[in-house]
């Protein structure tokens, strides 16, 4: 008997005014699964994961996260967000706080941890992502790759059940992409459930156990990496892969 999915989207629709961003999206995520979502710009990939943690509200359909139904009620959304970590394309580190304080703030405010506990956890995760030495620096003193790793550590400090990544390496210079992907790969190997929106197909091939292709708001195709990359069934998927891989 399979465990119930950690995240379950059923027939989700989302409009921005007259523009339909999500069409009938249905997706189940099991514990420990690593899902990579790819697709052209405007396909709805970011919108979909932002609906999962309530940063956007879906118009129709159901979204179930960790046994909670996502509604427009802020309290429920808040409860869900505590168990879901998110890493943004533009890092979004708090510029007025040192790195270690960035990591401690949510722990103290949301998890009600003491200063010492929060500090300890923060240092632990900084070591995990490999930048313990930068703890007392301010975000704008770090490189893009380092900042993104801090962002990952910040999300991890909350002990989330699922990690969402919204194009985490798209804003990085090429030489810094690998350090972030390395961290994400280790995270996956440790068993973290993750949904990752990305253009990094190498990462998808090596880490993902399912690849989802979205276009114009729909999930066109999904499957295991080997079949997905070598033999996609849809024409649109083929076209997209051709464009991406030829880089």
């Amino acid at each position: 008997m399979k465990n119930p999915p950690v995240i379950s989207l059923k027939n989700v629709n989302k409009h921005f005014g007259s523009f339909q961003a999500l069409r009938n999206i249905s997706l189940d995520v099991q514990e420990g699964q690593r899902i990579v979502v790819c697709g052209p710009s405007g396909s709805g990939k970011s919108t979909m994961i932002r609906c999962i943690n309530g940063l956007e509200h879906h118009d129709e359909g159901t979204i179930m996260v960790n046994g909670h139904m996502m509604t427009s009620d802020e309290k429920i959304a808040n409860l869900i967000r505590r168990e879901v970590g998110m890493v943004f394309q533009s890092f979004n580190l708090f510029p007025h706080l040192k790195v270690i304080d960035n990591l401690m703030m949510a722990q103290r405010l949301v998890r009600r941890k003491s200063k010492e506990e929060a500090h300890e956890t923060g240092i632990k995760y900084l070591e995990r992502v490999g930048i313990r030495a930068q703890a007392d620096k301010f975000p704008n003193q770090l490189s893009g790759g380092q900042q993104q790793r801090v962002a990952i550590a910040r999300a991890l400090c909350m002990n989330p059940k699922v990690m969402l990544f919204d194009e985490p390496t798209s804003a990085l210079d090429p030489e810094m992409i690998s350090e972030v992907l390395e961290v994400m790969t280790e995270l996956a190997e440790d068993g973290m459930t993750m949904i990752c929106v990305t253009h990094e197909m190498g990462f998808a091939r090596s880490v993902a156990d399912m690849v989802v292709f979205m276009d114009q708001g729909e999930i066109v195709e999904m499957g295991e990496p080997e079949t997905f990359f070598s033999n996609p069934s849809h024409e649109r998927t083929r076209k997209f892969l051709d464009q991406i891989i030829s880089h």
Partner: protein
């Protein structure tokens, strides 16, 4: 008419007498106005229109009318109203200093609330999203992320407001108060030497402005050392 430097220098210490009142008015009006502005901006940013609309109307009025007119409405106009004359606050409103402070405070609150609003809107939305994604409530996000950053963003505009208020205190002289300008006018009436007297008064305001601008610049530098 000859220009006498001696008169200019002589009048300076006399004018400094008025400085006490100028500074008193400046400090009191600024502090009360700013505190009021915090309340106003929180109401203004509320999604409930019955909270934000009154503030919008308030700001519209106080920014759309000259301070002098506002001062006259309070000092000369309020006594016309029964409620003020026979009310408990009359003992305050018949004092020119209170009237000047009152009108200035309301005016400052309007302008400053817009300055704060600009600062709040200037905070990178991604930071708010990151806080929410971490599970913080909007109140927590506002207190710990938005407010500190908005404060920093507001500093340049706020320092301009501080200088504007300093100049506005000169209007107190129109309702019998003896601030720097008030003393200046009195001396001019006695000596018939407007150029020299007003020039030294201007000098005093200039020096004060210099202090304000550099003070704020120092503050900005200390806050923004690395946290940009």
């Amino acid at each position: 008419m000859t220009f006498e430097i001696a008169l200019l220098i002589e009048s300076l210490p006399l004018l400094l007498d008025g400085l006490v009142l100028t500074l008193k008015l400046w400090v009191l009006a600024l502090s009360c106005g700013t505190i009021l502005a915090v309340g106003l901006v929180l109401l203004r940013m509320s999604p409930k229109s019955y909270l934000s609309w009154p503030v919008m109307a308030y700001v519209y009025f106080f920014r759309g009318t000259p301070i002098l007119v506002q001062l006259f409405v309070v000092y000369y106009g309020f006594p016309q109203l029964e409620i003020i004359r026979s009310g408990p606050l009359w003992v305050f409103f018949r004092e020119p200093f209170f009237c000047a402070w009152f009108a200035l405070t309301l005016n400052i609150a309007a302008y400053t609330s817009e300055i704060f609003r600009g600062g709040i809107l200037g905070v990178n939305k991604g930071l708010v999203e990151a806080s929410r994604a971490l599970g913080m409530t909007y109140a927590q996000t506002f207190r710990k992320v938005v407010a500190p950053i908005a404060f920093k963003l507001s500093l340049p505009a706020y320092s301009n407001e501080m200088v504007s208020v300093l100049k506005a205190t000169a209007l107190a002289s129109t309702v019998t108060l003896l601030d720097v300008t008030g003393v200046a006018r009195k001396i001019v009436a006695e000596t018939f030497a407007p150029y020299e007297i007003f020039l030294s008064a201007a000098l005093i305001y200039l020096v004060l402005t210099w202090f304000i601008q550099n003070g704020v610049r120092l503050l900005e530098r200390r806050i923004s050392r690395y946290a940009n």
